[in-house]
Symmetry: C2
Subunit: 336 residues, 2 copies
DNA sequence: ATGAAAGCGCTAACAC
DNA sequence: GTGTTAGCGCTTTCAT
């Protein structure tokens, strides 16, 4: 293994100079830096991660806690994970994967052993039991999602409440008077998963303010459940003409189910969704949707963490404004 | 931060005794071990990961390279990842997440910096460019999947060829004479992804041996593509009565498409799949399937790695035999 | 602008 | 069965 002293010898400088030349933590003459860098290249030097962590008290590793619980859409989780890894690499950090099952003990372990410098959490619940731990961990963290009370912590996410509102307002603007929200699986609400709750709040609030009749239906992530919800919707709200879908897994089956029930989209029914753009675009009838900007959220979560690691103050809350893209699935309410 | 010397002082022993008491790398009297463990608990001691890696030349971290390429089913990838993380934790290891995009440079980096002790690779291709690198990396690795030539390396996977064969034999045993394979998306074959190719080989070989007429159809991972394939199948093989599906994403849409084309399952058409049991069970018509044992593969991959880290010899190839579960989707061929 | 040297916290070889 | 001690390879004062 080639070590810093090898590089130093080759470049004709001291080890500390090599260290500083690479970290740029103190001025090094252009000429020596060139020599050091040449030596690094020639020898294929790679600093030993453990030694670096021990000497410098920075491991350059982030922990990412991913949810794997019922009702969470796996492809969406993966999109976040990939964007976090990619962004982290852009800041010379690697990502350690933790599963939610490891729980608080897992967080404590990787923090206390200095395996990681900082943590990113997904699938935050409104009253998340991990919050006190995060506050006392002594390492920066960022949550993707908003608990109800997050003083002293850092959160980032799409503004799901505004997203729910925007969907309703879009439908209201098209003249629709009776709307429904097809939401996440019931267990997601039971657990108090933050983003799902906020969509409901936004949806209901906006509907009330606009004087629309509205209803909310949780929905399992199966096509069969989608069909049942479609039938129930028409039975319970015969005048329904606008639907908001916040459930990636059932968007397509739901659209199919409506079609099979003889409803034209957008002729009889306008549909909007909150989901990744790729999903909304790819359907037979492209769906008007609010993008779920996983890549942006992941990248900005990492950036926030980097700034915290650098000792900067960062805002406690970062809410990304919803961006609605009109597609073929929404249109003006048909005259009766 | 509480360190090993703190524990030593508290327990009234030397630091090395603490180290040995915890690692059990040399005999320690029952009594002192008790004292040490008590001290550890009282002080909440956690060994510093970096120091451990530096002193012991073991980081207790594994690298997992996950594929994120077109045509790969994300939920399946996630199942593997989770099983690897879980198994690794069972051996006191953590998992560093690498994306395929990082490529060979990423592998070299985490190995050379001693960030990880060993590596697990998914999505292996028949002629995988990473093989020479793996051989020269100086760290143990395990591939989930089989390249065509893997001398000196370690591979594990479901025996996909046998899986393809077993599906055909099951159908042949039920009297079917004309069969088709609906496979992975075309790009998967173009890349030479090992497991997909092997299914084709097994399928075709078994069909030939049994004297069945057979055809293979790659299929994009979209419901629309599934519908097109269904139609094409009936057009090109009018006598078709047996279908093997090796494509998680289209299994359900395909079954639906056949239904909409007026075909009864299993009355007119028998269907078998190679996919996770949960998927096959959950459909409206539960599908006879060969399980994709992600949890077992992940766990055994980790075990192989642990044994290699311990200096043991392990078999180069571990092929898990396919396990076929009969469900409602297959039955005897109807008499014409 | 550079160098010398003292740690960082742990493991393991070497005593006893 | 336990203690002493010399590293592991890097970062970072403290000198110059």
């Amino acid at each position: 293994m080639v070590k810093i002293t090898d590089v130093a010898r080759r470049a004709g400088v001291s080890p500390s100079t090599v260290s500083y030349a690479l970290s740029r933590k103190r001025p090094i003459s252009e000429e020596t830096r060139q020599r050091v860098e040449a030596a690094v290249r020639e020898l294929g030097y790679r600093p030993h991660a453990g030694a670096r962590a021990l000497g410098g008290s920075r491991s350059n590793v982030l922990a990412l806690v991913v949810p794997l619980r019922a009702g969470i859409d796996v492809p969406v989780v993966m999109r976040f994970a990939v964007s976090v890894v990619t962004a982290a690499r852009g800041h010379d950090h690697d990502v350690l994967l933790l599963t939610q099952e490891e729980g608080e003990e897992g967080l404590r372990r990787v923090a206390d052993t200095a395996l990681v410098d900082a943590l990113i959490l997904m699938d935050v619940q409104l009253r998340d039991p991990r919050l006190p731990l995060l506050r006392s961990l002594g390492r920066p963290s960022v949550m993707i999602g908003f608990p109800s009370e997050a003083t002293g912590l850092t959160c980032i996410d799409l503004d799901f409440r505004a997203a729910g509102e925007a969907c309703v307002e879009h439908l209201a603007g098209l003249g629709h008077r009776v709307v429904a929200l097809v939401g996440s699986p019931p267990e997601v609400y039971v657990r108090g998963t933050a983003f799902a709750q906020r969509v409901v709040q936004g949806f209901t609030g906006a509907a009330d303010r606009a004087g629309l009749a509205s209803a909310v239906h949780p929905c399992e992530a199966t096509p069969a459940a989608a069909r049942r919800v479609a039938e129930r919707l028409l039975r319970e709200q015969p005048a329904l003409t606008g639907v908001v879908v916040h459930n990636e897994a059932v968007l397509e089956p739901l659209v199919d189910a409506f079609a099979r029930l003889g409803l034209r989209v957008p002729g009889d029914l306008s549909i909007t969704a909150i989901c990744p753009d790729a999903l909304a675009e790819g359907l037979r009838v492209p769906v008007t949707s609010i993008a779920l900007p996983a890549a942006e959220v992941g990248a900005r979560a990492v950036e926030l963490l980097m700034r915290k690691l650098a000792g900067e103050e960062v805002p406690e809350a970062t809410l990304l404004p919803p961006r609605l893209t009109r597609r073929a699935s929404t249109g003006p309410r048909a005259l009766a």
